[in-house]
Amino acid sequence: MLVVTTVIGTTAVAADDPLPHVLDSKQIGAGRAFYGQYCASCHGANGKGAPNWREPNRQGELPSPPHNQEGHTWRHSDADLYEIISKGWRDPFNKTDRITMPPFGETLAPEEIRAVIAYLKSLWTDEQRRYQREESEKEPFPAEAKPSPE
């Protein structure tokens, strides 16, 4: 499983992606490091997610979902991913009121959040990336997170 994910991640970087700036290997490398530091404790190594993430846990909270192709991160536009990561999230059906997905808007700079998202994108299939890109056409990253022209 671990091997498979790694292979897919690598191919994604190497593959001639129609929009190279979406998957830039330097950005992904930086994102992978941020991910390891801030996200892996909950979302698991290589974005594999918490066990039994589809069912609420004993506290009645949804566990951390995977970010790889098994999960549903790819279903969210850039705007939505940016918002979830910077502002945090709780599922409205959770039995507790706490924000289970912590906000990172104070911890990570906009370009760091973008780097983490670029890393998450490297974990998806081509088809999932295409879907997510289409979703993002109308819902791109917010202005504050736009990359500075190089």
Binding site: P65, R75, H76, D80, I84, W89, F93
Partner: protein, 295 residues
């Protein structure tokens, strides 16, 4: 793509051979409306919907749609095109539009009329077949619609049916779909499915389908209160239920005497229920009490 769409359009209007016939159609339609309204009163009602923009209740007996602007006193038929070869399973109206009616069903796929059935547009380009068994319109976005094709899954269109995208397989044995704009979605709202084994719910990102509470058994229909989208109603083979928290918890409530097959609610929160024997009821107090409507 575009040329395909034009072709489907032409098929549905091809039965109008000329202008002369066009002029006669309204007369014929009116006559048909009167005669079939009677027939429809007797048959079972398979679908209800409310055209909020036009202030009209819509019902279907599976063969045609009927519109009533006076709370069920009189009905005007919205006949399917004569070439239609299938039965209606769902009727829905888009948000923020008036007089636009979608019908869907096995053999029909998805059809839309904007002139009370004088002409129809088939919206099946991009669907795997016309075997659509459940259908709903987005609660707030007028161009977004959802169609369920049993062997394939749930398809979403964001351009009012011009193109479709397979979103996921959808819950097993889905019988009816409902979209609501309850708060707290990662996307734009929530999708509910009435199934043979209770109700299921997912945010409309199609992230995760889960049980909507513990409704057991066959759920025939779900409806929500647009004033307070966390208020849901469910008609099941165990009776009528309501929820005040988006379907996490349900309590049994009063059912009009007959077995309810389909439900719908208006923007002001009035709830309509129809039964297998074609009787129609309305509740103005959130399913506490019911009154029969029409004759």
């Amino acid at each position: 793509m575009i040329s395909n769409l034009k072709r489907t359009k032409r098929i549905w209007t091809a039965w109008l051979p000329g202008l002369t016939v066009l002029a006669i159609i309204p007369v014929l339609a009116a006559a048909f409306a009167i005669s079939s309204a009677r027939a429809a009163d007797k048959g079972s009602i398979v679908a209800l919907a409310y055209d909020a923009g036009g202030g009209a209740l819509l019902k279907s007996d599976g063969e045609a749609v009927y519109r009533s602007g006076n709370n069920g006193d009189t009905w005007q038929a919205i006949p399917l095109p004569p070439s239609a070869n299938g039965s209606i399973a769902a009727v829905a109206t888009p948000a923020k539009r008036s007089g636009v009616v979608y019908v869907a069903g096995p053999g029909l796929g998805v059809l839309r009329t904007e002139d009370d059935g004088a002409s129809w547009v088939a919206l099946n380009t991009g669907l795997p077949s016309t075997k659509v068994t459940a259908f709903t319109a987005h609660a707030a976005l007028p161009e977004a619609i959802y169609a369920f094709v049993p062997e394939s899954g749930i398809y979403r269109s964001q351009d009012a049916g011009k193109s479709w995208k397979l979103m996921d397989r959808g819950p097993e044995n889905t019988r009816q779909l409902l979209h609501t704009d309850m708060k707290g979605s990662m996307e734009t709202g929530w999708l509910y499915a009435a199934t043979l084994q209770g109700a299921r719910v997912s945010m409309d990102c199609f992230c995760l389908w889960r049980d909507a509470g513990e409704l057991n058994g066959k759920v025939d229909s779900l409806a929500y209160d647009p004033l307070q989208p966390e208020r849901l109603y469910a008609a099941s083979d165990q009776g009528l239920f309501r929820s005040t928290n988006g379907g996490q918890d349900w309590e049994q409530t009063a059912s009009p005497e007959a077995a309810v097959t389909t439900l719908t609610a208006t923007p002001s929160g009035a709830l309509y229920a129809a039964s297998t024997d074609g009787a129609l009821f309305r509740s103005l107090d959130r399913a506490e009490t019911w009154e029969p409507i029409g004759d």
